[in-house]
Amino acid sequence: MSENALLETHDVRVRYHDTHDALRNINLTFCPGEVTALIGPSGCGKSTFLRCLNLMNREIPHCHIDGEIDYHGQNINTKKQNLYDVRRNIGMVFQSPNPFRKSIYDNIAFAPRQHGIKDRARLDEIVEQSLRRAALWDEVKDVLNKSAYALSGGQRQRLCIARTLAMNPEVVLMDEPCSALDPISTHAIEETIGAIKAEGICVIIVTHNIEQAARISDKTAFFLLGDCIEWNTTEVIFNNPHDQRTKDYLTGRFG
């Protein structure tokens, strides 16, 4: 167990509909200020794993999560655990940018309001800070009251990141955040990831783009058909993978 581990999984296993084993024996550790990339071919369970970490899988009725997920050393995969606390501290950004049909301001202020912050000045501050952290403030500061759907795809995705940052999370999970975006937006998002990592946030990102994983991550985990085949520093994974299947995948033999 790593000394400064923020989030750790022990033998996590996920089944859908009792029969189907979507994930098996996943043991990974994530630390603050570190970007971990999860890679692997389609359907290997990357998203499933990501959704375990903030208990989003609980929303799927027929999904069973076994094993331990330790957050700050405490298992959160128990019935007693307050979901909402977990989710506020472990934010999530989805594949397709999905802002609410509200104004830009309200998109960000929504969750803080729901969590009891009513003071307008305080909300203004949270909105500004979050947008700055997502590197979106300069682009939208004059149109905060416009609909979020007036933004471009890349901007929407950064808005979603800002929305998550407004909760002040310690971990941010991202499920293929750039797959629907153009190169320039992708670049902007990657910069944002760099910035929040520098703030000490732990980022876990699923990506299909191997080059992106190489560019931005410190650690990389390779998944295949529900197993985590290899997990190591990105350096090692890309230059000197221990497993033949990892090598095959990275050289484009499949996927």
Partner: protein, 312 residues
């Protein structure tokens, strides 16, 4: 940016989270209660309707004999037959028409103002009160065409009532066939018509069957559109009579035909038979059982067709 900021947020929120979670529980409770109420209502309604007419509804004599004018013990034989016959005729007319119209709207109609207007027109047709449809049928078929109160007039009125329902169902079924099936057909050099008939329709069939049977249920129970079109009298039927111009011939489409639903309405307003309550409860129960059967049938057919399509 430090976590201290977050700690402050936390303080605010512990209370509001508890609050939110309590609200969540209350809301769930209220919603559950509402659904339970509706369910209880539905079940008791059905049980009540069937129970109060059960002794008649399962009596073969009642189901086959003809109604009496002044005496007890009349049945609903002709009415029951008329209901089914009208339903079948209505489907025979409305199904091809709706199928054609829906195919045109989904596959051929250009995406423009005219198409939009046509779709709106069909919605208008769907929202017309059935009594207005019935009166139109009365004016056009019964009076202008001189067909009198007849099965044909009734079936056409029901067709007007049924078409918008069916068009909508078929339209949705066609639209929900994945675009990839359409592409596959077109890319093989087939015409849109062939693709639609041979590829899309079979895929949409389970949904169409379900929709048609469910709409049949509504047609079966419709009364307002029939009072002034198919009429309020049921000549006694003779199933050995195949003279298509005779009123006793069941298949004659020029004869008046009171249906079960109209019968319930009529005897409750005009009836003089002593066992009026029993007859009307019995008829209601029969009607209800038929509608239940339609529902079960729709579900069974839909599932069966689906399975048949997915794997042999």
């Amino acid at each position: 940016m430090t976590k201290s900021n977050g700690a402050e947020t936390m303080k605010y929120s512990q209370r509001s989270i508890r609050h939110a979670q309590r609200n969540d529980k209350i809301a769930t409770g209220v919603l559950t209660a509402i659904v339970a109420a509706i369910f209880v209502l539905l079940i008791s309604l059905i049980v009540y309707i069937i129970a109060s007419g059960a002794n008649k509804a399962f009596d073969l004599q009642f189901l086959t004999s003809k109604p009496e004018q002044f005496k007890e013990g009349g049945g609903i034989g002709p009415e029951l037959f008329n209901s089914f016959y009208l339903l079948v005729l209505t489907l025979l007319i409305s199904l091809p028409l709706s199928l054609g119209a829906a195919i045109f709207l989904v596959e051929y109609a250009p995406d423009n103002e005219v198409t939009h207007a046509v779709k709106t027109a069909i919605e208008v047709l769907a929202s017309l009160p059935s009594i207005v449809v019935g009166l139109f049928g009365f004016l056009l078929f019964v009076i202008s065409f001189g067909w009198g109160f007849s099965i044909l007039s009734g079936a056409l009125a029901l067709t007007i009532f049924n078409i918008p329902l069916l068009v909508r169902v078929i339209q949705q079924a066609l639209e929900s066939v994945p675009q990839s099936q359409r592409d596959a057909g077109l890319a093989l050099g087939l015409s849109r018509w062939e693709t639609t008939v041979h590829i899309l329709l079979p895929c949409a069939m389970p949904a169409i069957i379900t929709g048609v049977i469910l709409s049949a249920g509504r047609v079966f129970g419709e009364a307002a559109a029939l009072i002034y079109t198919a009429g309020q009298s049921a000549p006694a039927l003779d199933f050995t009579n195949f003279n298509l111009s005779s009123y006793a011939c069941p298949w004659n489409i020029w004869r008046p035909a009171e249906t079960l639903a109209v019968h319930i309405w009529k005897i409750n307003s005009e009836g003089v038979v002593p066992d009026l309550a029993a007859v009307s409860n019995g008829s209601a129960a029969v009607l209800m059982i038929c509608v239940l059967l339609f529902n079960l049938l729709a579900r069974w057919f839909g599932r069966h067709a689906e399975r048949k399509l997915m794997s042999e």
